[in-house]
Every structure is written in structure tokens, then in C-alpha cells.
């Protein structure tokens, strides 16, 4: 892969990959590192992407990110002990994720932002194996088959994890869902 191709790849998938990294790692600094390593790894192994013959580049990028994260997790856990984890909430309580739609009243807008924040927090607290599936399904809009292929697990396992994740989220978001 040339640097030019890499640039195009970042341009096309940067936002999706970065959002995924942010929710996967739970902190900006780790997301930055994972995001960077993902693209540099892809640059190194890009022949694999070409050889995949029509494989979804986004799926490939996400699979690299997941694989790298698995390798980094232990190191990250250690590092968090010496450098307190940075919250995804920016100073002042502004949520880093999400551009708000300014179509409704300010009050509705604030409520929606709060709703999003609650959902994001609930997802962030899911066990990792459920969180990954939820992020791939809802954030990256991959199909169950694509997720199964990316994670190298049977489709039934993906469905089961999604089911389990929804169950946990329903419990956490009960108030929101009852409204």
C-alpha cells in the first residue's frame, strides 16, 4: 500500500475506525494509539487486503483493531494503573461523542444528549466480548455474518452474544426504555 492509498483509507474509514477504537478502549489516549497502530499495521499487510478479493476494507480495519487491542489489553491495564484513565467525557462534562442535531428545542436537545450519554455509558460497561459485537453491529452496521467472519466465531455465537448484550443493556437502560 502506498502512503497515498493509506491517506485515502484514513479519509474514508478514519471516523468509523476511530469511533470504534474509542468505545473499545474507553479512553482517548488508548484510542489514539490503537487507531494509529491499526492503520500502520494495515499499511504493512495491505497485500492481504488485496488478496482477500473484495473483502470489506472496513471489516478488515476493524478486525486488525480488535486483534491489536487483544494484544495490548494487558499492557494497557498495567499502564492505566500508573496513568489514571482519561474519561471519554471532556472537561466540563461535554461528551466527546456525537454531533447533536439542532432541529428541536434546546430542552429536547439536552435530553437527547443525556440519553445518548446514558446509552454510551451502558455500552462501555458491557463485558468486552459483548461490547465488541454491539459496536460492530450498531456502530459499524456490520451483518451477523460479517461479524462472525471478522471474529472467527460461528454466526450463532454472534447472535447469542448480541442477545446477551441486549439483555444486559435493557436492565441498565430500563428507565429510558419505559419512557
Amino acid at each position: 500500500m502506498t502512503v497515498f492509498e493509506l491517506e485515502q483509507c484514513i479519509e474514508t474509514y478514519g471516523k468509523e475506525v476511530y469511533s470504534f477504537c474509542l468505545h473499545l478502549t474507553g479512553a482517548r489516549e488508548w484510542a489514539d494509539e490503537l487507531y494509529q497502530d491499526t492503520f500502520l499495521t494495515v499499511m504493512e499487510h495491505i497485500m492481504q487486503l488485496h488478496n482477500d478479493g473484495g473483502a470489506n476494507p472496513k471489516s478488515y480495519l476493524l478486525s486488525v483493531a480488535i486483534r491489536l487491542w487483544k494484544n495490548k489489553r494487558r499492557k494497557a491495564a498495567w499502564r492505566r494503573r500508573i496513568a489514571p484513565e482519561q474519561s471519554m467525557d471532556a472537561p466540563g462534562g461535554e461528551v466527546l461523542t456525537g454531533e447533536t442535531e439542532l432541529t428541536d428545542s434546546i430542552e429536547t436537545e439536552v435530553l437527547r444528549a443525556e440519553e445518548r450519554r446514558q446509552v454510551q455509558r451502558a455500552v462501555d460497561t458491557l463485558p468486552e466480548k459483548y461490547r465488541v459485537v454491539v459496536l460492530l453491529y450498531y456502530m459499524e452496521e456490520l451483518s451477523v455474518a460479517q461479524i462472525a467472519s471478522l471474529l472467527h466465531v460461528p454466526g450463532g455465537t454472534v447472535k447469542s452474544r448480541l442477545h446477551q448484550a441486549r439483555k444486559l443493556l435493557r436492565q441498565q437502560l430500563e428507565v429510558l426504555l419505559d419512557e
Binding site: 478514519g14 455500552v123 435493557r170
Partner: protein, 425 residues
């Protein structure tokens, strides 16, 4: 309810967080460097005609690092910690953020001289970039530059860990130099420098800092790494061209004298501020005294008390010394056994060099004195050369010592140390 949950999740998890522009730029920069390095490796390997494939590339990185002994080169240093990681290791969150921002410059240049391979990994400059701000006279030095160096042994032996007894035996000086300013006069000492360091995987990481270097970005700004921690090494290891103001390595220097030119953004230069900053470095004695007083004000109470006590004791000893005469010195003081040495004076010479290096207890050293002035006639006389106070021992006892030149009745002149008998300090 299930559809509502699906909708909530889909809305809340829209991938809408953009990575920082600097992060994308950093990836592309690293990708370019890696591509260039691979190309260089490939060319090098072709010449050798020995290795091929991916495994050879990994080996070649190490080989290349060894091959550059005695010269400078630029290639990516993937195996080192990033400045962000080093800042995390130093538990400096603000600095970690600074190195993740747009102002950070990633240099990744390696130079190998003497026994050491030095890599300048990156530098960042700006205001309030650290959790551990340096203060002078109680005032925070806010505008600073921070740079990260990786230092390794060329022979591959690991640098001693900071907990090892070997740590500290090999010392280094990293300092900025500015084109047009004499490096022995303007360096990390004058620029309020400091550093933190740690060792990981046999590599020493030094995060150094000093006042903002970007002020000088319209000139060549250098960073050095020499294998001796003293200002004296600067004159030995580096050359200063008085015509061009440029600083270069002294090729004849037998040791490590790496010198990096910083790729600073010239647009960030501030000649007026730089001039005012340089003026501030050249303080009058009154200004220096004022600054010292200010620093004293901010010392911890215990330290300040200690210093004030020391001053009072010195003052008391000074007053005591004033009362000493050849007649009362033996009554008021006790000569330190073995400290007295005879001074041979050449009376034809105005200034005489004499030695006071006596035996046990003597303060020792060389001095010059105008003996004709000290001893204008043949009568017995004393002249106090110096006096001082020292404290030590388990009980922290204070002791005073007075160095005296004495002319005896027979014309012999000696130098000896005396201790006051009953002076309560």
C-alpha cells in the same frame, strides 16, 4: 421494547468521533518514514545479497543501527517508546496531552558516537505543558520546551536500571544551543533546564526541559547529547563558529557528542521576546541578589531557618575574627595539630604563591598574598586569610575554622588553622 432499544443503540453509537488531524498526520508521517526505511533496507540488503523476505527486514533494522557508528543518520525508531508513552511512564498527563497535540514535533533521528546510540524522539514547546512545573523564586516557568531522548549502548548491553548501583556512573548532558550564542554561555544551565529519566528494556529515556526554544526558531536551534554531565564538556565536544554563529560537533572529540538540529517552525520565532529573554539572563549583581532574596522567601520554613542560622553564625565568627591579635590568638584559639606549615617567602616578589597544604586538619590549597603589605615590619603579626563554618557528624555539631598567616619573632612565617576555644555558635 426491543425496537426501541435498537433505535437507541443505533442513535447513540453513530460513529461520529473524528480523530485529531495531528493524529492522522502523524500516521502518514510514520508511514512515509517506514516506507523510506524499508526502501533503504532493501537497497542495503541488495548490496549484501544475503537476506530476503520479511524476517530479513527485522534483522536489518538492527544491523543498520550498528552500521551507522561514527555517523549521523535519520530513520524511524519504532522500537522506542513514543513521547506520549514516556510522559505516561513519568505520570505526567499534561505532557502526554502536549505530545499528542499539533505542536509536537516527532524527529526520530538517531546518531551514534562513542559508546552510545542516541535518538531524539520528539520535542514539544508551549505554555503550561506539565503537571510538574518548574518554579524560580516562587514563579512558575510556564513557557517551556520538552524533548525526549533514547540513549543506548552501542554494544547492545542494557543501560543500567535506575534502581541499580551502576545507575548514575555513566552521566550525560543534553542541552540546547542557539546559533549565534556561545554554547558554553547559553545552554541548559542558563535556560533553566532539568530532566527526568527512566530505563525500560535496556534503553534510557531522558525527558529534558528548558525555557521555550521556539522563540529562537528563526535561527538554527540544536540539541546535544554528550557523555559527561558538566558545562565543561561543551567546549570540548562542540565547536562554535564565531563568524556564522553555527555550532558543530568536534570530530576529534573522543566520546559521544551527538548534535541534532531541531526542525522548528520559523513562524513561531519571536525575536523581540527572545532578545528580552536573553537580557533577563544577564542580570546585574543587584538583580541577582533580589532574585536570591525572592527564592529565599519561598524556601520551606526549615530550610530558611537553617540558612538564616548559618548566616548568623558566620557573622558571629567574623566579629570574633576581628578581635584576634597576635597577642590574644593563642588564648582565644587552639591551633589545629599538624596544620602549621612554614611559608617560604621571596621578598623580592610582590605577590608570593604559598602552599597551605599541611597535614591532618589543615584546609590545604594554594594562595597568593602580598606579604610586604601583610607584614610591613619585622614585628610578630598575624593575618587571617579565611574563616568558615561547617556542620556535620551525627549530632550536626557546628565547627569553625580560621586560617592564619603568622610571623614569629624570629622572622619565620607560617600558615596554620585555628579553632576558637569558647565561641558559642
Amino acid at each position: 421494547m426491543s425496537k426501541k432499544l435498537d433505535k437507541l443503540l443505533a442513535t447513540a453509537l453513530t460513529p461520529d468521533v473524528q480523530p485529531e488531524r495531528a493524529l492522522n498526520e502523524q500516521i502518514l508521517r510514520r508511514a512515509k518514514e517506514e516506507a523510506q526505511m524499508k526502501e533503504e533496507m532493501k537497497n542495503g540488503l541488495k548490496k549484501r545479497g544475503a537476506w530476503s523476505g520479511k524476517r530479513a527486514v527485522a534483522t536489518a533494522v538492527i544491523a543498520a543501527a550498528v552500521l551507522v557508528v561514527g555517523g549521523g543518520t535519520t530513520y524511524a525508531a519504532w522500537r522506542y517508546l513514543t513521547p506520549q508513552e514516556a510522559a505516561a511512564e513519568l505520570q505526567d498527563k499534561k505532557l502526554m496531552d502536549a505530545f499528542s497535540g499539533e505542536d509536537a514535533i516527532f524527529v526520530n533521528e538517531t546518531q551514534t558516537y562513542g559508546d552510545y546510540r542516541t535518538t531524539l524522539i520528539g520535542i514539544v514547546s508551549g505554555k503550561d505543558l506539565t503537571d510538574y512545573a518548574m518554579t524560580t523564586g516562587g514563579e512558575v516557568r510556564a513557557d517551556r520546551s520538552y524533548w525526549l531522548l533514547a540513549i543506548e549502548h552501542v554494544d547492545g548491553t542494557p543501560m543500567p536500571d535506575t534502581g541499580s548501583p551502576e545507575y548514575g556512573k555513566e552521566t550525560f548532558l543534553t542541552s540546547p544551543f542557539i546559533q549565534g550564542l556561545e554554547p558554553w554561555k547559553y545552554n541548559i544551565y542558563t535556560f533553566g533546564g532539568g530532566y527526568s529519566e527512566f530505563v525500560q528494556d535496556g534503553v534510557m529515556y531522558r525527558m529534558a526541559e528548558c525555557d521555550d526554544l521556539e522563540l529562537f526558531a528563526d535561527k538554527e536551534v540544536y540539541l546535544c547529547l554528550a557523555d559527561e554531565n558538566s558545562v565543561g564538556v561543551i567546549g570540548e565536544a562542540y565547536n562554535y563558529d564565531e563568524t556564522t554563529g553555527k555550532i558543530t560537533r568536534n570530530e576529534a572529540y573522543d566520546g559521544c557528542n551527538a548534535l541534532f538540529i531541531l526542525p522548528l517552525d520559523r513562524a513561531k520565532a519571536d525575536p523581540k521576546k527572545a532578545e528580552s529573554y536573553l537580557r533577563s539572563l544577564e542580570k546585574t549583581p543587584e538583580e541577582e541578589q533580589e532574585e536570591m532574596d525572592k527564592e529565599l522567601e519561598h524556601l520551606p520554613e526549615s530550610q530558611r531557618k537553617e540558612m538564616e542560622e548559618g548566616e548568623a553564625q558566620t557573622e558571629a565568627l567574623g566579629a570574633f575574627v576581628e578581635t584576634l591579635t597576635v597577642e590574644n590568638i593563642d588564648e582565644l584559639c587552639e591551633k589545629v595539630a599538624g596544620s602549621e606549615v612554614v611559608v617560604n617567602v621571596d621578598w623580592d616578589s610582590d605577590w608570593v604563591e604559598y602552599s597551605t597544604s599541611g597535614e591532618a586538619g589543615s584546609s590545604g590549597g594554594m594562595a597568593m598574598s602580598d606579604f610586604k603589605l601583610l607584614f610591613p615590619d619585622d614585628s610578630p603579626c598575624i593575618s587571617v586569610q579565611s574563616f568558615g563554618i561547617s556542620s556535620g557528624g551525627a549530632d550536626g555539631a557546628v565547627s569553625a575554622s580560621i586560617s592564619v598567616l603568622r610571623r614569629y619573632e624570629d622572622g619565620t612565617i607560617t600558615c596554620a588553622d585555628y579553632v576558637p576555644k569558647d565561641l558559642n555558635l
